[in-house]
Each structure stands twice: as C-alpha cells, then as structure tokens.
Point group: C2
C-alpha cells in the first residue's frame, strides 16, 4: 500500500528540488509559481498514461513507466522548439501498489527531470479504485512568436525525421507475442525513449523548421496532423524511411511512441540541415505537396499509394 | 461508447474558443502557447478527480462533475490571488460511458470556463479500463512577487474565512445516507461550488492577505497547512465558525470541498477588511499564535482543545 497522501507528498517534495531558476515556488502551496523570462512565451502540454492502455506493470519496470510518462510531455515541448522548465505529476494509485513501486516510479521520473534540468513543481495524488494512472504536465518557454507549430508547412517544403523509426513498436510486438523483454540497447527506445529536446531547440534557434510534431502516434498519423493543420499534402519515400531490424517498414510507418521529431523545412534550407544534431541522425524522407492526403512512394520511385493513418488511436478507432 | 479520439478532440475543440487574449495557440498542436503579460508570474495547479473517489455517476449529474473538476483548480488559483487564464483537461473514459454523458460533462466544464473567461487550451484523452478519471490543469497570472502564499502568516495575524462552511459535507452526508439529493439552492455548494476568484484577487490587489489557502480538505486540515508552511500556530473560535443548517459544527471544521478561502491578515488591516466582497461574507474566526498546533476555543471563550486535522485524506489516513 502506498504511504498516506501527506507523507507521500512530503517524500516526493524532498526528492525534488523545491525551486530553481524560473520556478519561484514549487510543491507546497495551492499553485506553483513560475517566472517565464521576459520576451518568452509559455508552452504547456499534458499527457495521460494509464495502466493497461499505455503501460503494463508486468511488462514495464516502475522506472521505465516513470520515465515514459514524463518523456511524452518533454517530447511535446521539444516539438515546439521550446525549453522545458517545470513538470507536474498527478498520480492515482490503487491500494495494492507498494510504496517501493512508487519510489522506483519516482526515480525514473526524477532522473529524467534532472537530465533536462526540469523542476517537479507540483501535481496531485489520488486513490485509484483500479490501476495506476499518471497525468503529467510539462511547461516550457520559447522566445515570443518562435514556437514551431504544426501549421507552418508550405508546398515544396522538405520533410525530415530524427533517429530511427519503429523500434518502440517492434519491442511492443515482442511483448505482445509473450516474449520477456528486458531493458537493453535494442529495447531502450521502447522502455526509455529519448525526448529530442536539444534537436528541437537547435532547429528553432536556427530557424530551420517550418513545422514540427513529435512522432507519438506513428508517422502516418502525425504527418497527417501536419498536413491537416497546414492545409497541404505530402509524399514520403518508402526507401528513405529510416528503420533498423527488428523494426519493419510497417513499424516505422505506423508504430507509435518513437518520440522522434518530424519536421518540414523550406527547400532552400536543405544544405543548412545537419546530417546529425546532438548525435541524432536527420533523414530527408519526402516533400510537402499541394494535393491533400499523404502518399507513400514505392522503392522504384514510380508508383505511389495513399498512406492511410493507421497509427494507434484510443477508443477502438 | 464515446466518440473515437480524433472526433472527440475535434468536438471539444469546436466547443472551446481556440484562442483569446493570453492564449496564442490553443488545442491542435503539440503544446498550447500562452503569453503571460510582462511583469506577471504564471501560477499552475493540477487536480485529479476520479470516479468513486471524488464523484459518483449515480450521485452527480455529468454537468456537476464537469463543473466540480474545474472548480477545484480555479479555487487553487483564487487562493493565490491570481487571475485564471487557461484550463487543460485530461479525460480518461471507459467504453461504457455514452457520448451524451461526455457532452454534458463538457457543458458543465465549459460553462464554468466561460464565466471566468478561461480558455480550454488543451489536454489529453485516453481510454480508461474502469471508471472516469479527469485531471485538470489551471494556469493563471499574478503580478510578479504578489502571489499570496501559505507561508506568509505571522504571529498576531487575524484569521478569516469566506462564505459558509460545511455545506458540501452536509450534502455528502445525505448522499451517503441514501437520500436522493438533486441540485438545489441548498445543495448547490456541493454540486456546483463557486470558486472565489474575485475575492482572492480583491485581497491580493489590496494587499490585505498575508497568507491564503482554499478550503478543499476542510478547515482543520487547511489551517494546519498554513501553520506548517508559516511556522506558527493558531486558535479559532467555535462560536465564530460560519455555518448554517443542515451543516453542523463538525461539517464546518472538518468537511472538505467547501472551496471557500481561508486567509490571514495583519491586525492593523482589520478595519480595511470588508464585511462582504463580491457578495460573499467575510468572517473573522481566530488568531495566529506562536505556539505550534491549532486550537479550538469553546463558546465560553475559556477552555480550548486541539483541533486535530480530520479533514478527508486519501489512502485511508
């Protein structure tokens, strides 16, 4: 059974730096108080992670679950080209979860906070009648008017992705097939995904990206989001999609939870886009076009077929 | 069954003003983008509301649940003396909840948003294996350094509360006793509590409050929070605690979810504290003292006894 609420909050409070930089008041008041630097805007994202839907306690270590919950939010902030500042954690726990489990969850969470200099500035705890549920908020800052939106893609823009796609989905498939998968170099993208905060900020600061989104639902879904918000279409080249075994093309196209960045850039920026940013390879995969819809161009570069959004959606869509 | 995720988000997006004032980018990107006015700080609060713990679908109408979820966050912002700006809603829904229920929940939520000119700027949706769970975030702004903290109470300060206490607990008792209670004037504080946003800002702007907290867990618990954070003690007078039938003294002392404000003020401000602010009565109930602990002084003003924190806590404390 977890500690009583007040002791639990005290324990979390002790494990987090109370204040630092922009966080004037952290845990311990009705609200946290943040001081976003002058000339900057605040970006805010929330992500709900639910046992049995986003993770399984049989599959994921508590450290992995804590890491993954926060990584989702950091990745959203990265996709705006913003600097993460503070995190908030709302955690609902059933009676049958041990305090040891909670401590290890918090370890995964706070280790990732520390790596990106993010203060755990507040949150809420609640009793859950059933499984574990964690909702996180990440707040960041970005120079005024400089946030990279989904809506900035224009006809003729190049399309790029960071890293390799489909690795998380490949591990998930193994888990579904009943294999016991432990954290390793190969399974790391699934258990401890790396939010591309440095890459996102590099692209923003150097004015390289016209639109950006993080790959949380899968390339086919997320590229559609950019196209819808920008009022354009796109084609991507099958041969260019970066993936590596055990991930297959379908994993790279439709697998979710890669937390890589998908961005577009004006064609004249092509030579300014590095091959690698912060050690992460950047791959050109296609072009923004006028015709609505997203197309997959075959290896022969002759035929193309619609790339239907098949990424993972809730509520059985 | 609720709508598929993408349609659900589109529907919520249509029902909310996309942007307004400080909200530069609302629903529809990786993050919302907010522009907090120069010279202001950002306050942030999150509140988790869970079916079976914070509400019951048999007891509460969907509109009431939507209202209550948001009211908790607005009340926290009020307790800082801040202006609410934007709300975020993370909503986990089981398959067996109808879209009609979701629509009515959103109606209760957005009506309260509109009353306080708060933009629903983002959030998340997820499938829930069991009950409904809603985590809300409210962001507000307050002039730099002017947020009213819990830690500002000093020895000799007067203690005040807004409104009447215990009404929500009294209704909850009736519900627990198996009575069917419908929303009415008497049950309104429970089903549609009124966050004291105007009162909180009045106190902040006029520099009247030295410390403030909202009464969400009950007077005995929340006064203890102020004392702990300020390193002081307090006594309150039994005769002064404002309550009205059917609420009894115990409801007013220990009942949660009143969402009234509890604040302290320097004694020299006594004559400046209005009897009513925005139509809400303000009642002097006691004094901050040096000795740690919180005391209840009896009606004869002679005897006193410790006021143990008995308000509602999670995890069976």
């Amino acid at each position: 059974m977890p500690l009583p609420e007040r002791q639990l909050i005290s324990r979390i409070r002790r494990s987090s730096k109370d204040t630092s930089g922009e966080v004037v008041k952290g845990i311990g008041d009705d609200c946290a108080v943040l001081r976003i630097p002058r000339g900057h805007e605040t970006v805010v994202t929330t992500d709900f992670s639910i046992e049995g839907v986003h993770f399984r306690r049989e599959w994921h270590t508590p450290e992995s679950i804590g890491h993954r919950c926060l990584a989702r939010g950091l990745s959203d902030v990265a996709a705006m080209g913003a600097q993460p500042v503070a995190a908030f954690l709302s955690l609902a726990l059933p009676d049958h979860v041990s305090q040891k489990w909670v401590d290890r969850f918090m370890l995964g969470f706070t280790r990732l906070c520390e790596r990106f200099d993010v203060v755990l500035a507040g949150g809420d705890t609640a009793q859950s009648p059933d499984g574990v549920a964690a909702d996180i908020v990440v707040l960041g800052s970005v120079p005024r008017g400089k946030a990279v939106l989904r809506s900035g893609a224009r006809v003729g823009d190049d399309i790029y992705v960071t890293g390799l796609l489909g690795a998380s989905a490949a591990t998930l498939r193994e888990l579904f097939n009943g294999r016991s998968v432990r954290p390793s170099v190969r399974s790391r993208p699934h258990f401890f995904p790396e939010p591309r905060v440095v890459v996102g900020q590099f692209l923003q600061k150097n004015k390289l990206a016209s639109a950006m989104i993080d790959l949380s639902d899968g390339l086919s879904v997320d590229l559609n989001h950019i196209c819808e918000e920008s009022g354009v279409g796109a084609w991507v080249s099958e041969a260019a999609i970066p993936h590596d075994r055990p991930a297959v093309l379908a994993d790279a196209l439709h697998g979710g939870e890669d937390y890589e960045l998908l961005f577009t850039a004006r064609p004249e920026k092509h030579n300014l886009i590095p091959e690698e940013i912060d050690g992460v390879p950047i791959t050109y995969i296609g072009t923004i076009i006028k015709d609505k819809g997203v197309w997959l161009v075959a290896r022969d570069m002759q035929s193309r077929q619609p790339l239907e959004p098949k990424g993972w959606q809730h509520f059985g869509d």
